[in-house]
């Protein structure tokens, strides 16, 4: 009976739940789904992390390679993110070149890395003007159930914390790089940006962490990326219904609490990994 109503009038079905200040999966309007993170599962990558936000699953693998630094910044390395939304994660994606959503997500992650200065690009330089590290961060979605941006940002952060780069010395005589695989150092992660996404319903209600169905029914979305000092790295609102300044303020406070939750989870996982 309820399933029939849901198929025929999905928006009305949702409105009935929202009137009681809850959602069909039992969550409150400001509650996130269960977040789980698994670090270091891919042994062939230099750093990896798997993040699950409810059903949404994103895995991030980081590979480090050598490259010549850019001509206009000879003391900087590169961080190249790429988000892949393959057909296996949802029936809405087809195989072939990356669709618009994947490209927008890749640009979003690139912006977050750039704005938050999560890694100082100067740290990736080995020999100015000659050799630098390039970190290829590949984020692949394994299950798409809404809120992909939050999961990607968290997976990227966790994977970068897991990356260990071997020490490289340039041999003076042969001018070749010598890699010492026995001595590895962790990256210097300066800030911890955490993304919080909201969906706007009927131009008025804001719900946190939308699922795939909720995103489809929403009239707008908003993503806030905050670091630990409360500074904003990104306020991504791609169109949709309008928001007043006061509503934005409520979103900010929710983003601050979410940051604390995520930071605590990350610290626990890192601590459990350390004695290796």
């Amino acid at each position: 009976m309820a399933a029939g109503f849901k198929t025929v009038e999905p928006l009305d079905y949702y409105r009935r739940f929202l009137k009681e200040n809850c959602r069909p999966d039992g969550r409150e309007l400001g509650e996130f789904r269960t977040t789980t993170v698994n670090i270091g599962s891919i042994s062939t990558a230099d750093g990896s992390a798997l993040v699950k936000l409810g059903n949404t699953t994103v895995i991030c693998g980081v590979k480090a390679e050598f490259a010549a630094p850019p001509a206009d910044a000879p003391d900087k390395g590169y961080v190249v993110p790429n988000v892949d939304l393959p057909p296996l994660c949802s029936s809405r994606f087809r195989s072939g070149p990356p669709g618009e959503e994947a490209q927008v997500a890749s640009q979003f992650i690139a912006d977050v890395i750039e704005n938050s200065q999560i890694i100082q690009k100067e740290d990736l330089c080995i020999s100015p003007g000659k050799l630098a590290w390039v970190l290829y961060c590949d984020l692949i979605c394994l299950d798409y159930d809404g809120n992909i941006l939050d999961a990607c940002t968290f997976a990227l952060l966790a994977a970068l914390k897991n990356v260990q780069l071997p020490e490289v010395t340039i041999n003076e005589e042969t001018a070749l790089a010598e890699v010492n695989l026995k001595k590895k150092n962790y990256l210097n992660i300066r800030t911890h940006p955490v993304a919080t996404s909201f969906a706007v319903f009927d131009d008025t209600l804001l719900i946190v962490d939308p699922t795939g169905e909720e995103e489809h029914l929403a009239t707008g979305t908003l993503t806030i990326v905050m670091d630990e000092e409360g500074k904003l790295c990104c306020l991504h609102k791609p169109g949709g219904s309008g928001l007043t300044g006061a509503k934005l303020q409520d979103c900010m406070s929710r983003a601050v609490t979410r940051h604390k939750e995520v930071k605590k989870l990350m610290d626990e996982v890192i601590k459990s990994m350390k004695p290796k």
Partner: protein, 197 residues
């Protein structure tokens, strides 16, 4: 039903063209926004569209979709083509203004007008509205907002750089005040156009 609009904002200029409802059998997609990269203002041409352009297209398209009353024109595809003639800073805001004016010129029914405003915050926290390209490069943070004309609500926002919550509210308030001038410009331009004919 084609409309073309030339909005001159200081040293920046854009042309947007509108195509009206096409016949049946066209794509089911309701709206398309394409940032034309076939010819750049410096004369170069490129056929490869990068992720940054795709991201900007999505922003402009979703802003237009929020205000256009699409239900009045079912089975219709509305294409907004934006050609950058010269870029002297605040490009995205100018694109949004041009898109809005082109939609008005084409007679597409909308629930509100929208305008784009860019704010730049430099290293000591001073707010600069509508920054030039040089000011944007030197700024600590650049925030672009799209505001609607009815209640000055925030329709779209995209930001670059680090800034605090208080600075965001400050920029938003300044943008809302500045949007009045843009809407007045819209009104005056349209009055001028229709008083001649």
């Amino acid at each position: 039903m084609d409309g073309a609009m030339h909005t001159d904002a200081k040293s920046r200029a854009e042309t947007g063209t509108e195509s009206g409802p096409r016949g049946p059998g066209c794509s089911l997609r309701h709206f398309a926004c394409e940032q034309n990269l076939l010819s750049r203002p410096d004369g170069s041409a490129s056929f490869i569209q990068g992720v940054a352009e795709k991201s900007r297209e999505q922003l402009i398209r979703n802003t237009c979709e929020a205000v256009v009353l699409g239900a009045l024109h079912p089975r219709t595809s509305i294409t907004v083509v934006l050609q950058v003639i010269s870029d002297a800073g605040s490009l995205l805001a100018c694109c949004l203004n041009a898109a809005c004016m082109a939609l008005v010129d084409a007679g597409v029914p909308m629930r509100a007008l929208f305008c784009g405003v860019t704010c730049a915050l430099d290293s000591d926290g001073t707010l600069v509205l509508d920054p030039t390209a040089k000011q944007e490069k030197e700024a600590r943070a650049v925030l672009t907002f799209a505001l609607d004309s009815v209640e000055r609500k925030l329709l779209m926002s995209t930001t670059k750089g680090l800034y605090s919550d208080a600075e965001l509210q400050q920029c938003l308030a300044a943008a809302q005040a500045a949007s009045q001038h843009v809407f007045r410009f819209y009104r005056e331009s349209l009055q001028r156009r229709y008083s001649k004919s």
